[in-house]
């Protein structure tokens, strides 16, 4: 993890467990054309060479679900915002 597809950019990757409460998270993330959503076992893998921004209202998750939906963030990136408006993952 870390190098972009072209070998120059940084790939931001977060993992979201596939459980019913989380389904809208990768769905909303995928609306950004720069984002790809893949699978690794039971996890959604949400990646982009751009900052990943997921809108809270579009996801529609209740408080507890929203603040616990991230299973992992690949080294090199970090969560820089996770509040009532949005989740943002970008280079650390």
């Amino acid at each position: 993890m870390g190098a972009g597809l072209d070998g120059t950019g940084v790939v931001n990757t977060l993992y979201v467990l596939d459980v019913p409460e989380n389904i809208a998270v990768p769905k909303v993330a995928a609306e950004d054309p720069a984002v790809t959503v893949g699978r690794l076992g039971p996890y959604f893998v949400i990646s982009s060479d751009q900052p990943i921004v997921i809108d809270r209202r579009a996801v529609g998750a209740r408080h507890a679900v929203w603040y616990s939906c991230v299973a992992g963030v690949a080294p090199g990136a970090a969560i820089t915002k996770h509040d009532k408006d949005a989740l943002r993952v970008e280079p650390a």
């Binding site: 993890m1 467990l17 596939d18 690794l40 039971p42 991230v70 299973a71 992992g72 650390a92």
Partner: protein, 214 residues
């Protein structure tokens, strides 16, 4: 993962002191309808000055029990000065954050929404009405404080736990142990370590048994 066989069978009893047995019995037996299932009347004993006491038990379902000690001749001062927050056992200063005060609590399980709302009705009709009803990640809970100040929760599962949540829990704990063994543990470090463990282990994961589809 532990290879040890898992032989335990839930809670036998969890025990708390009370200085107000009348209100405690009223709350658990008369308001909630938890049967009194056992009691011990004991004279003081032992090398230290031990008060005479009554140890009494309420059934909380599944043959599990919540128990109380009432010590004759004592009052809450036996546990030290009254706290600005907390209960008759745990006393805290006014500046102790609420999340910490509430962190230690008992949650009793019910099978579904109908049962949760039935206990909500019973509490709301009493002197200890429900203070909060909250849908968490995968459970819904009602909360109040019992007559002793103990934070009391009744909860129901919103859905069955899925097999992948067991995998995820295991990865979380392994990541946590790695992070707390190093300097300055943070949530960010945990998520980074967990991402590495997901890459290592998630691809080859298969549910141990057929569970509900995700």
């Amino acid at each position: 993962m532990s290879e040890l066989d898992h032989r335990v069978r839930g809670v036998d009893h969890v025990a708390f002191p009370t200085f107000d047995p009348a209100a405690t019995v009223h709350f658990y037996r008369d308001v909630l309808g938890f049967p009194v299932v056992h009691s011990i009347c004991a004279a003081g004993w032992g090398p230290e000055q031990h008060p005479d006491f009554i140890h009494f038990f309420f059934d909380i379902g599944n043959d599990d029990r919540i128990a109380f000690f009432y010590y004759f001749g004592t009052d809450p001062s036996v546990g030290g000065p009254r706290g600005a927050k907390g209960d008759v056992y745990g006393r805290f200063a006014a500046d102790v954050p609420e999340y910490f005060v509430r962190s230690r609590h008992l949650a009793i399980h019910v099978d579904g929404e109908e049962d949760l709302l039935e206990y909500r009705r019973r509490l709301d009709a009493s002197d200890w009405p429900v203070e909060m009803q909250i849908q968490h990640e995968t459970i819904e809970s009602i909360y109040t404080h019992d007559p002793n100040g103990y934070f009391f929760e009744i909860t129901r599962a919103l859905r069955p736990v899925t097999p992948q949540e067991d995998l995820d829990a295991g990865l979380t704990i392994d990541a946590l142990l790695d992070v707390v063994s190093g300097p300055d543990p943070t949530f960010g470090k945990l998520l980074a370590r967990k991402a590495e463990l997901i890459v290592e282990r998630a691809a080859g994961w298969e549910p141990a048994s057929t569970g509900p589809a995700s």
